[in-house]
Amino acid sequence: MTSFTMPRRQLIARVGGLAATLPLLSACDAINEAPAVRKILSMGEEMNRASQRALIDRNALAREFSRADLSPIFRANGTRLPAGTAYAAHAASGFADWRVAVTGLVARPLSLSLADIRAMPQRTQITRHDCVEGWSAIGQWTGVQLSRILAAAGVKDSARYIVFRCADRIGDALYYESCDMVDARHPQTILAWALNDAVLPIANGAPLRLRIERQLGYKHAKYVTGIEAVASLDGIGAGKGGYWEDRIDYEWYAGI
C-alpha cells in the first residue's frame, strides 16, 4: 500500500507543480502569439523608423574608425559557405564570371562584373558591424557606393526600395534583403569586395556584400547577385522585405 501511494503522491506533487507553472507560461506565450498583440508591438518598429528618419540627418555618417580600432578577428555569421556546385565553380575561378544584375525600375539594366565594379570610383571605410544578437566587430571595407551603380543604371523616380538578391540558400529559399532609397543612396552604403585590405573572404560574403552601416548585420546581404529597384516589396518572398523578416519576423527597419 505504502509503496503504491508514495510515488502517486510524488506524482501528484509533480503534476501540481507543473500545473502551477505551465498555464502561466503558456498564457504568456499565447499573448505573444495573439495577432492583435503582434500588431501593437510592431508599431514600435514604425516609431523607430519614423523617428530616426525625422530626427537624424538622412546623410549622417556612421562613425568611421582608425586601423588601430580594428577587431583582431572579424567574426563571420550566417552563411559561411554557400552550398552548390555553381558557387563552388565561381569560387574556384576567383569569381571571374560573377555578375551582378541591376534590374527593375531602371532606365538601363546592367550586368556588372567584378572588373566593372572595381573600375568605378571606390570608397574605403572602417566601420562597426552590429549583429542583432548583440556583438560588434570593426572592419575595413572597400567597394563601390551603391548610389553610383543606381545612377549608372538610371534608377527611376517610381523606385521606393532596393532589393538585394543573394547566392546563399538557407533552407528552402535564397537569402535576400531590401532597404529604402535613403539608405540605398547613403554615402556609406557600398557593395564591398575587400575586407581589411584583402579580397573579401567567402565566410564574409565573397565576392560582393552589402554594407549598410546604419542598420544591423542581417541587412548586410552577402554573396550579392542582383540589385533590383522596386516600387513595392509585395510579392517578393513573403513580402516583408527580407529572408529573416519573412521567416521569424525580424524588423525590416533594423536601425536599432
Binding site: T21, S42, G44, G134, S136, D249, Y250
Partner: protein, 285 residues
C-alpha cells in the same frame, strides 16, 4: 502629499480613527503602475535578448573571439556565470536549466524569466523596442509633471538639513532597526527614500534609455557623442545590463520596505492615493 483629513475628535473609550493623508497624486499612481509593468516586460524581454549573445565587453567592439568581462555559459553537464576571473556554477538557473516540459536547455536565462518563454530573439526585440517607447514617453511626461507640478519641489527636494551626514546616518540606522517613521512624519519621504526615488527617476532610468539608444547604429550616426559618453557600443551594452540589475535591486529593496512598513496601507495608497498614518508609538491604533 498635502491634505490631511481632520481626524474626529478623540473621545474617551473610543479608538482614535486613523488619520488619512492624500499621499500620492493621480499622475504618480498611474505612472507607478504603468512603469512597474513596463519595466517587468523590458527586463524579461531584455534577458531573452541577452540570451542571443550571453557575453559582455568593454569598448566599442566585442564578439566571440574578444575577451568578455561577463559570460553565462555551459559545459556538457553544468551551467556557469563568469564575472572577470570569478566563476560560479549556476546549473539549474543560468546556462543549463530544465524548462517547464522537462527539457534541458543551455540558454543563459531560464524560460520562466524571459519573454517569450522559449528562445526567440525576434519576438523579444518586438516586446523590448515597443515598451522602450512606453518607458521613454512615460518617464518624460512624469519628469515634466514632477518638475512643473510641484512633486519635485514639495516631495523629492532634499532640504539643506537632510544632506548632513548625521541625518543620513540616523536614517540608515533607523532603517536597519526597522523603526519607520510614524504619525505626521510618515507622510513625508525620508532622505533615503528621496535619494532612491531621485536616483531611479533621474539617473537609472535615463541611463537605461541612453545606453539603449547608444546600441542603435541609426542613433549612433545622428548622435555619435553618445558613444563617447559611454565609451563605445559594447560598453553601453554592459552598462545597460548593470543598470538593469540596479533597477532589480531597487525593486527588491522597495518591496521589502513596502512589506515591512505595512503592505496593505502602502499598496492602497498607491492605488487610491490615501495613506493611513501609522499612529505615534505608544498611541492606540
Amino acid at each position: 502629499m498635502a491634505m490631511a483629513e481632520t481626524p474626529a475628535a478623540p473621545t474617551a473609550n473610543v479608538a482614535t480613527p486613523p488619520v488619512r493623508v492624500y499621499r500620492h497624486r493621480r499622475a504618480t499612481r498611474i505612472w507607478h503602475w504603468i512603469n512597474a509593468a513596463t519595466l517587468l516586460i523590458l527586463l524579461m524581454s531584455g534577458l531573452m535578448i541577452f540570451n542571443a549573445h550571453p557575453r559582455l565587453y568593454w569598448g566599442e567592439y566585442g564578439a566571440n573571439n574578444d575577451p568578455a568581462w561577463l559570460v553565462i555559459g555551459s559545459t556538457p553537464d553544468t551551467g556557469y556565470l563568469r564575472v572577470g576571473s570569478l566563476r560560479v556554477e549556476t546549473t539549474g538557473v543560468l546556462g543549463r536549466w530544465t524548462d517547464a516540459k522537462g527539457v534541458e536547455k543551455t540558454w543563459a536565462f531560464p524560460g520562466w524569466a524571459t519573454i517569450p518563454t522559449s528562445y526567440n530573439l525576434a519576438d523579444a526585440r518586438r516586446w523590448h523596442l515597443f515598451f522602450a517607447w512606453v518607458l521613454s514617453i512615460g518617464l518624460t511626461l512624469y519628469m515634466l509633471w514632477a518638475a512643473f507640478g510641484g512633486h519635485l519641489k514639495k516631495d523629492l527636494h532634499v532640504r539643506r538639513g537632510e544632506w548632513s551626514p548625521r541625518h543620513i546616518w540616523h536614517d540608515i540606522k533607523q532603517h536597519a532597526r526597522l523603526r519607520f517613521p510614524r504619525g505626521e512624519e510618515a507622510a513625508r519621504y525620508g532622505i533615503l527614500q528621496k535619494l532612491s526615488y531621485i536616483g531611479v527617476i533621474f539617473i537609472l532610468l535615463p541611463i537605461m534609455i541612453a545606453t539603449g539608444l547608444t546600441m542603435s547604429p541609426g542613433v549612433n550616426a545622428g548622435a555619435p557623442w553618445l558613444l563617447d559618453l559611454f565609451g563605445g557600443r559594447q560598453s553601453a551594452r554592459s552598462i545597460h545590463f548593470i543598470a538593469a540589475w540596479a533597477l532589480v535591486a531597487f525593486f527588491f529593496v522597495h518591496i521589502a520596505m513596502v512589506l515591512l512598513a505595512g503592505p496593505v496601507n502602502e499598496i492602497r495608497s498607491m492605488v487610491t492615493g490615501w495613506f493611513r498614518l501609522p499612529p505615534e508609538r505608544g498611541e492606540r491604533a
